[in-house]
């Protein structure tokens, strides 16, 4: 079992090594695509194994739990690994058309693969300190990717991203250290019982709040989101797409894991805070987006707003709400990454990203317009796209709990999302280009056209697919939520794991 779990983590690092040696060669992008393809295969195998066997766990180096580092995959982890591999492959292909030899020489593809490895590791680990290590791996790679953009505003964005994330890191480390000091273990399954049985529950709540701060900052939850809109619009578009799809979701995943498995003792306190943070995150994100007039900045603020929905699902903590959160998590990664890829192509064709200075995309590339509308409508929650079901599940869960205000906020934020998407549509696609200049698709070389549009079309097709036949996905999310709410199987398998 341990190899099925370890290979999806190891493969990106092997690819990173290969990319490092070949960084001056032309084929380095293909190495990264091949690695992403291999990761995808391994992720599919992992998911198939998890569906067959239920939760699986393995021990690194063969040290038994709770002493060694546990790798563990339940439905949620395995699905997240798969979706990471899908986004990894899509951006790897897309990046071939964007990343020039200068960035490649600086190690762009190496950092890209280590980032994917770090994200995968964070999803598969069953140990709090190991989670910290994977966070750092992906953080250092993301620093590099952000800085390689090279422009002055990229440096500016990187400064804010780096400093605020370093504070979150220190908080996380402090929380992990205090957890160890109080309970004597860092294995998450072991912590479930030990935290619940700890005599000083007040101390546990303090530690829980520290974790909430640390992960909340990574996930860009109100009021800790300021680094995100300050930095996500500055690097290469492929980097933006990857970050938008995956990085904040690692924070959300960590929140879900920690607050369903470990800190469930004082839900009236912790989950109440999460609930109001979630509502404020949704509202501030969408209002922030309404005030922006730059393609990528609008999308960046929408990441914040959508994070609110996922945290809302966690905060309500009912079975249906968690189904909604898991479903939202999976659907959102695909949609958001795709929107940033559309922004990248739009920038290529129109030469800018400020909505006041671009336009005419609909006439130039109707196909691109369709590729924008599918994820945009899905983001806003139009039926029959994936976002509709995600929002439907969450709103219904809120109504069942009698949280009318919360449900109302969620619906209103959906409406405001349509406003922002309409603004992008009107600015970039519908109105003519103000410079009197006609963007045409021929500005992309045929090679770039294939490399950029294929992954976007596939991601859009997945959005439609999830929307048209949501049943298998909802069933999957239901099992995932069940495993989260009843972690007995998870704990039994981790603590009894044989190498």
């Amino acid at each position: 079992m341990s190899w099925i779990l370890a290979l999806p983590i190891l493969t990106p690092f092997i690819g990173a090594g290969a990319c490092l040696f070949l960084r001056n060669r032309k084929g380095v992008g293909w190495i990264s695509v091949l690695t992403a393809l291999a990761s995808l295969g391994l992720a599919v195998r992992l998911l198939a194994t998890v569906i067959d066997h239920g939760v699986i766990a393995g021990q690194v180096s063969g040290w038994p739990a709770p002493f060694g580092i546990t790798l563990v995959a339940d439905y949620l982890s395995a699905a997240m690994v798969l979706i990471t591999a899908i986004i990894g492959l899509a951006t790897a292909l897309w990046a071939m058309a964007e990343i020039g030899p200068t960035s490649a020489r600086l190690g762009w593809f190496t950092l890209f693969q280590t980032l994917l490895g770090g994200v995968t590791g964070a999803f598969l680990t069953g140990d709090l300190f190991n989670l910290y290590v994977w966070f750092e791996v992906l953080l250092i790679s993301s620093f590099g990717l952000l800085a390689i953009g090279g422009s002055r505003s990229a440096t500016d964005g990187a400064v804010k991203y780096v400093t605020l994330n370093l504070i979150a890191t220190a908080l996380f480390l402090c929380a992990a250290g205090l957890t160890y000091g109080a309970t004597g273990t860092l294995n998450m399954a072991d912590l479930h019982g030990k935290v619940a049985a700890h005599p000083d529950q007040g101390l546990m709540t303090v530690i829980a709040i520290l974790f909430m701060l640390a992960f909340g900052m990574k996930a860009a939850v109100f009021p800790l989101f300021f680094w995100l809109p300050a930095s996500y619009h500055t690097p290469h578009y492929a980097v933006s797409a990857l970050f938008a799809g995956l990085l904040t979701k690692v924070g959300v995943y960590a929140l879900i894991r920690v607050f369903t498995l470990i800190f469930t003792g004082d839900q009236g306190w912790t989950h109440e805070i999460l609930l109001w943070c979630a509502c404020l995150t949704m509202v501030t994100g969408v209002l922030g987006a309404a005030a922006q007039s730059d393609f990528r900045k609008i999308l960046s603020f929408h990441i914040v707003s959508q994070i609110g929905y996922m945290v809302l699902g966690l905060a309500l903590m009912t079975p249906l709400a968690l189904v909604g959160a898991v479903f939202y998590l999976l659907h959102h990664i695909i949609v958001k990454a795709n929107l940033f890829l559309v922004a990248g192509v739009s920038r290529r064709l129109t030469g800018g990203s400020d909505l006041a200075q671009i336009g005419g995309l609909y006439r130039a590339a109707p196909f691109l317009a369709v590729l924008f509308l599918i994820p945009a409508f899905s983001l806003a929650g139009f039926p029959p796209l994936s976002g509709f079901w995600a929002k439907y599940l969450l709103v219904r869960a809120a109504l069942e709990e009698g949280a009318w205000l919360v449900a109302g906020i969620a619906l209103m934020v959906g409406l405001l999302t349509i406003y922002s998407m309409t603004k992008i549509w009107a600015g970039a696609f519908w109105k003519p280009h103000p410079g009197g200049y006609e963007p045409v698709l021929a500005q992309l070389s045929p090679r770039a056209r294939v490399l950029m549009l294929t992954p976007m079309a596939v991601l859009a097709a997945m959005t439609v697919l999830i929307g048209v036949m949501p049943e298998p996905f909802v069933t999957f999310a239901t099992t995932a939520a069940q495993q989260l709410l009843e972690p007995d199987a998870y704990i039994r398998i981790v603590l009894g794991a044989r190498p």
Binding site: A6, L10, I14, L20, F21, R23, G107
Partner: protein, 137 residues
């Protein structure tokens, strides 16, 4: 500013640093020490050369691009981790070749990998800083 004393000293100190790094690396097998700290010591030796003779001299002495060195280290560590598959062990489980005099193991290979990766990483960073210093005036 170049100082002949520092330049001469650096050339004498480098082998000393490298020797000490090697000692710490091997000692780390059973006692305090290990690949990371050894890598830092070795990188420090080269850093002194950089300060004394400039990055070009250090690059010539190193002979290999530090980034490639880091890559070799990464590959060594990965081989050491993946090698356990051959014996049916868990990932990163140590395999020991019990030779009569010299107990070789994948654990040692992993440590050497860390050693090389640290030298490569630290030197790549210092070179990058030196280069950007020149570019910025």
């Amino acid at each position: 500013m170049r100082s002949p004393i520092l330049a001469t000293g650096a050339r004498l100190l480098l082998p000393l640093f490298l020797g000490f790094a090697l000692y710490i690396l091997l000692r780390g097998h059973n006692a305090p020490g290990g690949g990371f700290i050894a890598g830092l010591i070795a990188a420090l030796g080269f850093a002194i050369v950089i300060f004394a003779d400039g990055p070009e001299a250090a690059r010539r002495m190193l002979r290999i691009d530090p980034r490639s060195l880091g890559g070799i280290g990464l590959v060594c560590a990965l081989i050491a981790g993946g090698g356990a598959a051959l014996s049916g062990g868990a990932p990163f489980q140590g395999i020991w070749l019990d030779l009569p005099v010299l107990p070789l193991s994948t654990v040692l290979l992993f440590d050497i990998g860390v050693f090389l990766a640290v030298i490569g990483g630290v030197l790549a960073l210092i070179f990058a800083l030196e280069d950007s210093g020149k570019a910025g005036g």
